[in-house]
Amino acid sequence: MKPAPFDYRRPGTLSEAIAALAGEPDAKVLAGGQSLVPLLSMRLAAPSLLVDINGLPGLDTIEVTGEGDEPGVRVGALARHAAVLASDDVRRVQPLVPLALADVAHATIRNRGTTVGSIVHADAAAEMPVVLTLLGGSVEVEGPSGRRTIPADELYVGPLESSVGHDEIAVAAFFPALRPGAGVGFEEIARRHGDYALVGAAALVEGESVRVGFLSVSDVPTVVDLSGVADDELGDAALAQLEPMDDIHATAAYRSQLVRVLTTRVVRSAQEMAREGM
């Protein structure tokens, strides 16, 4: 269980980091490494080069945006899950982020892992890709031709595959603010506390609009629209738009049952938040 050899660079500036990636299609960016290092150790991945961005200045930021910009929170590429989870600003502006982060692995992993890293790692069993997709957030990436913004619905193209180019570095993720009168909910079921979820669900209720995002159901984060569906039909209505998968952890039938149960629960908690405020 040791990684295969790779070259290693630890640049001091973003432009050096982008230059290091150029011409290295098999390179990977190392931030927190909490998903990447196990893949390397198990030799499921063997990049030619790791570009360690932990030395880049100004990327550990958590900022509230607004005043001219779209209101929300912007999380930099080196902000650790633990810092984002502990941020009062994030909790106030978009409570779905800490609700979901509390279920990201264990505190020890959250001390090193980064929220942006988790988003661009594009694991359909992870929490933050679903949160970003449900909220209609985005990722800012920088590459040789400058900076661009990728909306969440164009980010996930397949299992562990995102539309971030191999020569680009994700520098921040943007989570839109919760609108007044809206509510969110999050819940997941895992075999062991802190483990990957068998199924997880996040709900966003805004006026008449009811949308629910699922993790570990498909091979990419999946959001379904349940606006106008009666409360006791939510689970079946969600299932009609999903095809839960079989794998070693759970059968498709069990996942379907979890979808039914969790959909009802998260929509109910989101409706309560919408009614009562945070």
């Binding site: 269980m1 040791k2 990684p3 295969a4 050899p5 790779f6 070259d7 290693y8 630890r10 190392l30 490494g33 909490q34 290092v37 196990p38 390397l40 150790s41 198990m42 790791l50 360690d52 932990n54 030395g55 633990a82 692995a105 264990h106 505190a107 020890t108 992993i109 001390n111 090193r112 506390h193 802190g194």
Partner: protein, 193 residues
Amino acid sequence: MSEELHDVRLTVNGTTHEVRVPARRLLSDALRHDLGLTGTHVGCEHGVCGACTILVDGAPMRSCLMFAVSAAYHELTTVEGLANDDGSLGPVQQAFMDCHGLQCGFCTPGFLTTITAGLRQNPHPTHDEARDMIAGNLCRCTGYQNIVKAVERAAELAGTAAGESPPEPPRPGSAQLPSEDRDEDTASTGLGA
């Protein structure tokens, strides 16, 4: 093909070490093999078991999920750094001894580092918070009841050492276990409280 080696300066338990390692050297292996600090144990080597947990700038992290080359810029604390300055057991170590918190001992270094940091963040954990503090560490001997007791005992010991008035009455769910748990504890260890 010879692999490129990197000169890395690691600061562990206040001492600076120079090592020359390939980039792929896991921090856990650098501590054990290059520095001879074998107190840090390696269990699953993919971040699940928690045995290799060390403190990085005071925060618990998995040393098997970091590379030694990335650790150069941090203050590292391993289980070898948890004893008191006079060499006696630190409060968490003493609590494990008092409460029979270890059996085979393989997982213990990861628990000790995790709890040391956890009590700094939350010096008076409730019973539930004590359980949550160690939720990311596995003990294959399944000695969890006594490990939870050790967390609560360590909080008492650390509080006393820090000059807090020692006879702090146990809060509900804190030093005393809820009664439904207590029977199970006594039965499983034969040691009682």
